[in-house]
């Protein structure tokens, strides 16, 4: 596995930048195009790229499957939890005014932030776990076959 030198070097450079970009898209989604869905996909792409160029085993050391599976559920729970919290404090389900009763507009900002975080986590985890599932079954392909 000591071939593809250029791919390996470039990947090492890119993965960090892709993750940084994903975080930017996630938290700057209120002001520019972007949001949880896009950020989740981009974040997942960083892991998938690393897994493709190096090996799945190496990615799974950093981002083990059990953690991915937990995160899949965690994202949905954050989303629904936001709704339940606002319901418990006497507002309608998913009414973000509950998060900052004195200043509803700030509550909206917090709500959007939380909900987008939930979406981002779920999408990242689902995409990465789908990729793990596919790659986990793939027999090793040698370069000559392609």
């Amino acid at each position: 596995m000591r071939h593809h030198l250029i791919l390996r070097v470039i990947t090492k450079l890119l993965v960090g930048m892709i993750m940084l970009f994903a975080l930017y898209v996630q938290f700057h989604g209120d002001y520019s195009p972007g949001g949880g869905f896009q950020a989740g996909v981009i974040m997942a792409v960083a892991f998938i790229l690393y897994g493709l160029v190096f090996s799945v085993g190496q990615v799974q050391q950093v981002f083990p499957p059990w953690l991915v599976h937990k995160l899949v559920a965690l994202g949905v729970l954050i989303y629904a939890g936001t709704g339940v919290y606002s319901m418990l404090t006497g507002y309608a389900f998913l009414d973000y005014g509950a998060l900052s009763p004195d200043h509803p507009e700030h509550g909206q900002h917090w709500g959007i932030l939380l909900v987008e975080a939930g979406v981002g986590i779920t999408v990242t985890a689902v995409m990465v776990s789908i990729h793990y599932a596919f790659v986990g079954r793939t027999p090793m392909i040698s370069d000559e076959e392609w």
């Binding site: 995409m127 789908i130 599932a133 596919f134």
Partner: protein
């Protein structure tokens, strides 16, 4: 037939192009036997529906529905309709999730039947069914 004026044709050309694209996708789904290709066809169909929605949200002279960052909104600026964008945005992500599910099914089918061609799968299924009827038909009360 006097409704077919030039502005009418230009105004509807987008719908017709997207329909053409949609039908290309549908043709792949119906006519091609390879399951992976069917999924690609479905994706194409899906994308052309997205284009149809987005093109409905477009307003002539409009711009992307993002306000200036200081929230000083100029009332003269026309924004395109943001609602179709929201619907399609989520639809794309759901679409890829369902595509992944379909591909996973194909992988399982391949492991079971060793082929991903629709015709061959049907043939194998038919053989299996006739063999089962021959073996168990009388017990089940049907016979041949």
């Amino acid at each position: 037939m006097d409704q077919f004026t030039l502005p009418f044709i230009i105004g509807h050309l987008n719908y017709w192009l997207f329909t053409l694209l949609m039908m290309t996708g549908l043709y792949i789904v119906v006519a091609k036997g390879n399951l992976v290709k069917k999924i690609v066809g479905l994706n194409m169909f899906q994308t052309s529906v997205f284009m149809l929605y987005i093109s409905m949200g477009k307003v002539t002279g409009g711009t992307a529905p993002i306000f200036p960052i200081d929230m000083q909104i100029d009332p003269d600026v026309v924004y395109s309709n943001p609602l179709p964008h929201v619907l399609i945005l989520t639809a794309i992500v759901v679409g890829i999730a369902t595509t992944a599910l379909g591909l996973a099914l194909i992988v399982r089918i391949r492991e079971e039947y060793h082929t991903i061609e629709e015709g061959l799968i049907q043939k194998i299924e038919l053989e299996k069914a006739t063999r089962e009827i021959r073996e168990f038909g009388e017990v089940m009360g049907g016979g041949e």
